[in-house]
């Protein structure tokens, strides 16, 4: 589905997300175990992975740090990724390269993809940070 058909009007100043796969994220998809499978294997009844809400919070905060600050403390223009854009990107990505990914993983992949393509983070630094996080989580 082309972006001109998308819900959010694509005329004017919105650049549709580049849905070309990102190799780091493709690797995650290839090796990552989705919550559906993990929960089934370990007999866990939580329908959602423990990181689902922290992911939601990240999305909210990227859309405006006025989530928690009182209005006087909010720095104008400090919103990194407005929700309308993030959701438009997520819709396009969910329709294409992340179509078969289950829900919370799909939202996560779309967020990472958007942040990389829109220049908020770089693929290289994300790869490094993932290695660090993995070491930290598996050593504790």
């Amino acid at each position: 589905m082309s972006t001109s058909d998308s819900d959010v009007n694509s005329k004017g100043d919105y650049q549709a997300i580049d849905t070309t796969p990102i190799s780091l994220l493709q690797t995650v998809l290839e090796h990552g175990r989705v919550w559906e499978d993990l929960a089934a294997q370990y007999g866990v009844t939580n329908p959602d992975p423990p990181w689902k809400i922290t992911l939601e919070a990240t999305c909210d905060l990227l859309a405006g740090d006025s989530c928690v600050k009182s209005y006087k403390e909010v720095v104008p223009g400090s919103c990194a990724l407005p929700s309308l854009e993030r959701r438009a990107d997520e819709d396009d990505l969910a329709d294409t390269i992340y179509e078969d990914v289950p829900f919370p993983e799909r939202q996560l992949m779309a967020l990472a993809h958007t942040m990389i393509k829109r220049g908020l983070i770089e693929e290289g630094e994300l790869k490094c940070r993932m290695l660090q996080v993995e070491q930290r989580l598996n050593s504790g």
């Binding site: 819900d7 959010v8 009007n9 694509s10 005329k11 004017g12 100043d13 919105y14 859309a63 405006g64 006025s66 009182s70 209005y71 909010v74 104008p76 223009g77 400090s78 919103c79 990194a80 990724l81 407005p82 309308l84 854009e85 829109r118 220049g119 908020l120």
Partner: protein, 122 residues
């Protein structure tokens, strides 16, 4: 570009404890329309941040509520929040919105909100 500039949430909120859209109460002046008025939706030039869906453009509906005053979404995204408008909840008949909507369900309707700039008397 490391940060996208457009953002709907950053504008001068009047006071802690008041809430949004409550903080814009009284700022829009006299509403142009009242409950029961028939209005049509203008087809204004589009920008990405519009919250007036394409499917309502040109349709005629009825004002059912004057819901609140607020800067319109199109202005808020550009941090231009000096002017507030009245927002109206408008009900449309589905068979006025969609050409193929079945006559069998002619009572069906859709309710959505539009700010004053998008509306004119029908």
């Amino acid at each position: 570009m490391s940060k996208i500039q457009h953002d709907r949430t950053h504008h001068a909120k009047m006071a802690t404890g008041v809430g949004d859209p409550q903080c814009f109460k009284g700022k829009a002046g006299k509403p142009k329309f009242k409950i029961g008025d028939r209005v049509s939706v203008k087809d204004l030039p589009d920008i990405f941040y519009t919250r007036t869906m394409v499917y309502t453009r040109g349709a005629v509906g009825e004002v059912v509520e004057l819901v609140y005053e607020s800067p319109p979404a199109e202005d808020e995204s550009w941090d231009n929040t000096d002017k507030s408008e009245w927002f109206y909840s408008v009900v449309f008949k589905q068979n006025d919105l969609w050409p193929e909507y079945s006559d069998e369900f002619s009572n069906d309707s859709l309710e959505t909100e539009l700010s004053e700039r998008w509306l004119e008397s029908a």
